[in-house]
Subunit: 358 residues, 2 copies
Amino acid sequence: MALNRPGPNLGKIAAAVGVSTATVSNALSGKGRVSADLVDTIRKVADELGYVPSQAGRALRTGRSGVLGLVLPDIANPLFPQIAQAMEAAASQAGYGVLIADSRGDVTTQTQAINRLIERGVDGMIIVPRRGTRIADIDCPVAVVDTPSTPGNTVSADHWGGGRQIVEHLGALGHKRLLLIGYDPASNVQNDRIGGMKSALMPDMSAETIWLKNLEQTQGAGCAMGLTGRVQQGFTAFAAVSDLHALRALTELQQAGIRVPEQVSVTGFDDLIFAPVITPALTTIHMNMATIADIAVAALARAIDATITTKPGDKTRKTGGTIVVAETSEVPMELVVRQSSGLPSILLSSQSEGTSVL
Amino acid sequence: MALNRPGPNLGKIAAAVGVSTATVSNALSGKGRVSADLVDTIRKVADELGYVPSQAGRALRTGRSGVLGLVLPDIANPLFPQIAQAMEAAASQAGYGVLIADSRGDVTTQTQAINRLIERGVDGMIIVPRRGTRIADIDCPVAVVDTPSTPGNTVSADHWGGGRQIVEHLGALGHKRLLLIGYDPASNVQNDRIGGMKSALMPDMSAETIWLKNLEQTQGAGCAMGLTGRVQQGFTAFAAVSDLHALRALTELQQAGIRVPEQVSVTGFDDLIFAPVITPALTTIHMNMATIADIAVAALARAIDATITTKPGDKTRKTGGTIVVAETSEVPMELVVRQSSGLPSILLSSQSEGTSVL
DNA sequence: CTGAAAGCGCTTACAG
DNA sequence: CTGAAAGCGCTTACAG
């Protein structure tokens, strides 16, 4: 797409050196069909002239844009920065640009966004799907980033395993009664995290699950979770499926004068930007987004290369219909222990006191 | 960039209808050089065939890619989702795609990122610059989003005015001694916010400023700010330049058993995703990012249209060198009052008590 | 090792 | 109102 810019093109370089554009092209692409001397000369002249290859010309000829689309369910999601940053890094490492598209939590918008990306000629796309979306009828390679329990999924973190780790950690601290805090009961990711948590309960432990979205339906957004009551009922650990909800729980407890971690533990998920800097710092699960991005981009690059064609305009280049990258990979989750789940045992015996040890 | 896809191109449609590609092109672009009947037929056939125009062909011919670059200082910045979402919406509204680039807080990386975008042929770019960066030598229209005090700036929020509003609000609540919490003393945006805060102090009010980055230099990342000491010194309001730092202050105070807002008020900036859901909900300044994005994209679109050329390959199309969009716009900031700065007067008289009114 | 030629898909002056 | 032709910049078989 590098436009009809005033800058030099292959022809200019060719003229300056006194060779054909074909030779310049071959020299610069390093395909080794040009003598070493000439390659040097051409490279030098290209540099002097400040040559920048035209992506438009190249794309038109090769049928490849060198651009990947990134479709996100909701850019406003607090995890998005990590995803976008990792994908951008992985893509640009692999020589691709990243075109973003926001489905704004809406399935129709998601379809439109996907179509816009197709129209812009992306070579492939990474989709973090909206819940319940069928990714189909997409005429280019697609990598789906979701949770392993989603069919057609390409790569994801081991959300279930992350949940296990959290509960194993809380169990080791001596917690017996846990409140598991989810937001949306329709989310695969959240269900997997909570499923993992439950699966790691020891025989002497018990857990109850609340879904904030249901709570908000009756009490309005940002409503209190009634955690002081839970503490009185004997819950000593609050494990949320996201740092955002953990933060909500933590501040609600703090405001009620309940001390964390002396009286109760709070844990999150995702290691969001605020997790390490709040007081107490939040114990959470960190996912290695860079690895996920690398896998997704690599899978995509392979799928794209598999559709390579030599003849320009070869109509068999794409098989048509969805090419979902087949393999599924799971990236491990890493437990990050911070103060919010530290030393609770000290107070586990006197948990109803509420003393303000300043 | 729509590749040599198997899908139909203008030629296919032309053949199907029995006209020339020129006529198909004219019909679909609606330039009115084709009879109404023929336009209808062509449109219908194009739809039936599922025609998607090739961006590569169009870009090569017109010299315009229809893509804007978005350069961010640090994608991990918590404000980034808002920026990216707003820009993506504004751009796609205006018919542009958005290619992202992350400078990862590094000036060299920023330059590389900008170059990559140029190579990909963006028609223009939106840059949220790294502090102290000179945006120059960019061979395409650029919109700079920063604070008004940055030279060459295109559009920004009125950070100074936002600071004023915060302090006026705190003053109205009866606060006399404020602690202003900045992070990086080298940031123009943060200095403007704090400058605005100071400028709104009434004669009977006083403020002290701390910069967290300096604090962290000696005490390590995520260190405590020593706010209990400040409360003892008589500070009753803590105004941070970002919700992230406000959150840090709030949790530190809560952990120390100091009640917000009964004993002290805490305010932030940016209305980040957690601001409304924590307890107490955070009083903050909301910036209308959509407006900023609209202005930036519109300015860019104007600048791009001004470089239009009719003859393909016209070498005068771009003037060469930086075309910084000239006009500067300031978008107002909106104060959002929530509980973290509510009703402090009740306790302003007994502020050293620290009673835990559960 | 090097070059002439074709062609990707599009748009636009120009001619009819 | 419609069409033939040129050309954007690139890459790649093919010929020499």
